[in-house]
């Protein structure tokens, strides 16, 4: 049998030691009437057959086109060393680092992860990662409620990824809380309306910058207004943008959230990715999830351990900050390796290149008469185009030309017919961008 090493002789020895004739005797505490009524599964297959099955399945997916699809999930470079190091089985098949002496590798890597995330976001504290960018926002909202001493209202900007907003609403539906949607004004935050809504009943305001349409804005004034009424400012972003754009710390936001897919993780049909959740140090006891800290062992040697565990479910049970038990450890490790390889200069260069390539595409596509750039604000690596044809037609026709042309916005947002979110990364060459624009010209 695959993966069970027991020979007939082993089984006999073990049964004799236990004092039974047959291993099935061990299940005698289970009454017959509770036994499985059916267990009708396929027979086991050889490794060769299983691999053929999955090769066949994978071939029924299409990853062959040149992709301009983004919207929170991006086709970035992944250096070979990220795969080589993260798949070392000492990382890959290790358990959660509760036994610090036997887990210094994982723990130190997480400490380094936390440091990098704090330096990128300008925050002072972070955990060892959440599930993804959407659940990180939901946990941030629950943090804001605790920080604001149980205020009941969360304002969420409609410039936040609509999928994240759906997750937020699911998480908050079971609490006596109100999620207030702030509709976007064209492609950005409706600051006038927002300022009129901010008062002492508001626990927090969640925004994304650059927002879901790629637009970049300055939120400093909004955050001042929030702090005047002791409300919590929660910023979400696509982390590559932090290479050049103002960090959450620089605009005095209280909590930062993001999705880590773009930091060295594969698209993988949406997962696994990981969620970033960081905050000001004064809010650390409200932060859910694992946190790694430095201490000393009994002879004074620097040691890494999980710390502040009294916030967590295995200690506090129903009084914990969250029920989260795991982190997306392997994905956070990949991000740590990715960011170490890029380094201070490389990460900025990568972000700048994303910006420059997107600006080039925007300029070229704007030359097509019948297409309009929807964004009025500056953008980072993606933007919205308005088409003279339906978004479905556009995407289908571009697919025939060999492109995944972008994200159809009408499926996520009302009143966004004929609009498509188009993204570039450093992987798109000038030739590919030119060919994309030429194809758009042909099909319109």
């Amino acid at each position: 049998m695959p993966y069970t090493p027991h020979t007939q002789n082993d089984v006999q020895r073990m049964c004799a030691q236990i004092g039974i004739k047959d291993e099935t005797e061990l299940f005698q505490s289970i009454p017959n009437e509770l036994r499985a009524k059916s267990f009708d599964l396929e027979e086991g297959l050889s490794e060769f057959e299983v691999f053929e099955n999955f090769k066949n399945l994978a071939s029924q997916n299409d990853t062959s086109k040149i992709s301009f699809l983004g919207g929170g999930y991006y086709d970035h470079i992944i250096p070979t060393a990220v795969d080589a190091l993260s798949t070392r089985s000492e990382f890959y098949t290790a358990y959660t680092p509760y036994q610090a002496e036997a887990s210094q590798g994982t723990l130190q890597a997480l400490y380094e992860y936390q440091t990098m995330i704090c330096n990128l976001t300008g925050m002072e504290a972070t955990n060892a990662s959440m599930y993804d960018g959407g659940t990180a926002i939901a946990e941030a909202a629950l943090m804001a409620v605790r920080i604001s001493k149980k205020r009941k209202k969360i304002i969420v900007d409609s410039g936040v990824n609509p999928i994240y907003i759906k997750i937020l609403k699911t998480y908050l539906a079971y609490h006596d809380l109100e999620v207030i949607s702030l509709e976007v004004k064209h492609d950005g935050t409706d600051k006038e309306t927002l300022l009129s809504m901010i008062d002492e009943s508001i626990a927090g305001y969640i925004f994304q910058n650059p927002n879901f349409f790629g637009s970049i804005e300055d939120y400093s004034e909004i955050i001042k207004a929030l702090h005047n009424v002791k409300a919590v400012a929660i910023m979400s972003s696509y982390p590559i943008a932090l290479g050049i754009l103002k960090s959450a710390g620089e605009i005095d936001a209280d909590i930062y959230c993001g999705d880590g897919q773009s930091l060295g993780n594969y698209l993988g049909f949406g997962g696994p990715s990981f969620g970033i959740l960081a905050c000001k140090e004064k809010y650390i006891r409200n932060l859910p999830g694992r946190i790694v800290g430095i201490t000393e062992d009994r002879v004074g040697k620097r040691s890494y351990v999980l710390t502040l565990q009294a916030r967590e479910q295995h200690i506090r049970r129903d009084k914990a900050t969250s029920n989260i038990c795991s982190n997306q450890n392997l994905m956070a490790l990949r991000a740590t390796i990715f960011l170490s390889l890029l380094g201070k200069e490389g990460f900025e260069k990568l972000a700048l290149q994303n910006y420059n390539k997107s600006e080039y595409l925007k300029t070229e596509i704007a030359k097509i008469d019948s297409i309009k750039i929807y964004n009025q604000n500056p953008t980072f690596n993606e933007f919205v185009i308005e088409l003279p044809i339906s978004a479905t037609q556009f995407i289908d026709k571009m697919e025939e030309k060999g492109f995944f042309a972008g994200l159809k916005l009408e499926t996520l947002l009302e009143n966004f017919q004929n609009r498509v979110l188009v993204s570039t990364t450093e992987k798109r060459t000038k030739a590919q961008i030119d060919s994309f624009v030429a194809s758009v010209r042909e099909i319109i």
Partner: protein, 482 residues
């Protein structure tokens, strides 16, 4: 000495050439939008990075190198074929927004794999339908309890409480709190099962759900389980099955047959996907008839034209995850299922239970054994007598083992056994490893009797000895500051 990447950094070093830009820079953004200084990331060569992380990896225990007798964690071998499949281009680089664009033609293979997995999970558990979107066991628990909340809301039931036994995993009460239920904890009886009379006393019309782990966290099967289900249902309370211990009972019982309404599985336990040092996992949730209409947004359907996305019911709890959760973890679990097949799964559970009972039989006379009957896939011992007589605690035993390349068992859980040592060998360990482990456990008892002081300095062969956790919390240092 344990230097961070930041201490190894040198200005001007780089670990990567990024692709050529090949076009002119665009006009810069307004400076009010730009960060004032570059983010402080370490500057290292690729080789610096490779050596750093390779050395770090050498400071870890892992299932490939070490036995993990960790109760409740099911640390079984993770077959290598999973990684090869995970590397397939058509899976690894598949963009999830084809889902948003409703381009089913581009993702037929992925949808088919999800449907096959769902069908397998339904047959294994006897549940009527599954959601594959939760990203971990605790995430699945939350999804399940949210569905229970939605069920009671739709029926207009006024429910406030979730019942959990005192032997439950910490995530059970924490999850109930995430969905705004108050928790009632019911005591275990002397056999380690939820006390039936106390349970009946706790039950009322205000109870929304009963969360149970089967077999329980003492590794025991509760024969009154059916009666508990019937009592709960009579009060319109739903039965939640924590599937963390599914590895004991594949092909033996099915929660759906017994009458459970909802179950989460931990694919990183029973179905052998790698733990990754703490995640990613995957926590699919199965439901019975009562909860189908509350399933989260994003399911797969099938007709003669192919696979497509299901339309969520008007009563769906909504999204708990952006797309299909940790899809690549789901794929790896399916690889494992296809390799084992029906007989392989039945055999896996039998051998997991055989291994656990073999350990119990070899150690029960050396430690306190609060529950002497046959266990399921894990057994619970106690160091209570050793603590009383020699001052050697469960944690000391755990640390002793580390020096022999054996990971510690789960200690101090379940909470209801003093100085508990919870051992789950899994089916993939051979008799030689298990014998070695048992001998070291017995040696530890001998050492406790002869030289209890010796434990205080253990472990001695690992990269660090026991760390000062109090200091870590008091003088908090959670990021490197030069």
């Amino acid at each position: 000495m344990n230097s961070t990447l930041f201490e190894k950094s040198h200005n001007g070093r780089s670990g990567i050439n990024i692709p050529k830009q090949g076009l002119a820079d665009a006009p810069s953004l307004d400076s009010s939008l730009l960060r004032s200084a570059k983010a402080e990331l370490p500057e290292l060569s690729e080789f610096d990075v490779v050596r750093h992380f390779t050395r770090l990896s050498n400071k870890n225990f892992s299932i490939d190198a070490n036995f993990y007798p960790l109760g409740s964690c099911t640390m079984k071998y993770n077959p290598k074929i999973q990684e090869r499949v995970g590397g397939l281009e058509g899976l690894a680089n598949l963009h999830p927004h084809h889902i948003t664009n409703n381009k089913t033609s581009l993702v037929q293979g992925a949808l088919k794999s999800l449907k096959i997995l769902e069908d397998n999970l339904k047959e294994i558990t006897g549940m009527k339908a599954f959601t594959l979107t939760p990203q971990a066991g605790a995430h699945g628990e939350m999804t399940g309890v949210m569905m229970i909340g939605a069920y009671h809301k739709k029926k207009g039931n006024n429910k406030r409480y979730v019942i959990v036994p005192d032997s439950s995993h910490g995530t059970n009460p924490a999850t109930a709190a995430m969905v705004d239920y108050d928790v009632i904890t019911v005591k275990s009886n002397k056999d380690g099962s939820m006390d039936l009379e106390s349970f009946k006393d706790a039950m009322s019309e205000e109870v929304a759900a009963v969360m149970m782990t089967v077999p329980n966290t003492l590794g025991l099967f509760n024969p009154a389980i059916k009666e508990i289900c019937d009592i709960a249902h009579a009060h319109d309370a739903l039965m939640y099955y924590d599937g963390a211990n599914m590895n004991a009972i594949m092909g033996v019982i099915r929660p759906g047959d017994i009458g459970f309404d909802v179950i989460h599985l931990n694919l990183h336990k029973t179905f052998a996907t790698p733990h990754g040092g703490g995640g990613p996992g995957a926590g699919p949730v199965g439901v019975g008839e009562r909860l189908i209409e509350f399933l989260p947004d994003l399911t797969v359907d099938f007709n003669e034209e192919g696979y497509f996305f299901g339309t969520p019911s008007q009563y769906t709890i909504g999204k708990v995850s952006p797309f299909f959760g940790n899809y690549m973890v789901l794929v790896k679990a399916l690889v494992y299922m296809q390799t084992l097949g029906r007989e392989g799964m039945i055999n896996a559970s039998r051998k997991a239970v055989l291994n656990a009972n073999y350990i119990l039989s070899k150690l029960k006379d050396h430690f306190d054994a609060p529950f002497k009957q046959y266990c399921m896939h894990e057994c619970v011992l106690s160091a209570e007598t050793l603590t009383k007589e020699h001052g050697v605690r469960a944690m000391d035993i755990a640390k002793y083992l580390l020096d022999f390349g054996l990971h510690a068992p789960t200690v101090y859980f379940p909470l209801i056994v003093k100085e508990s040592i919870m051992i789950e060998p899994t089916e993939t360990e051979n008799i030689d490893t298990i014998d070695y482990f048992c001998q070291k456990m017995i040696d530890a008892v001998e050492l406790a009797k002869n030289d209890a002081e010796a434990f205080k300095t253990l472990p001695i062969t690992l990269p660090i000895s026991r760390p000062d956790e109090t200091k870590a919390a008091r003088s908090l240092n959670i990021r490197w500051q030069a």
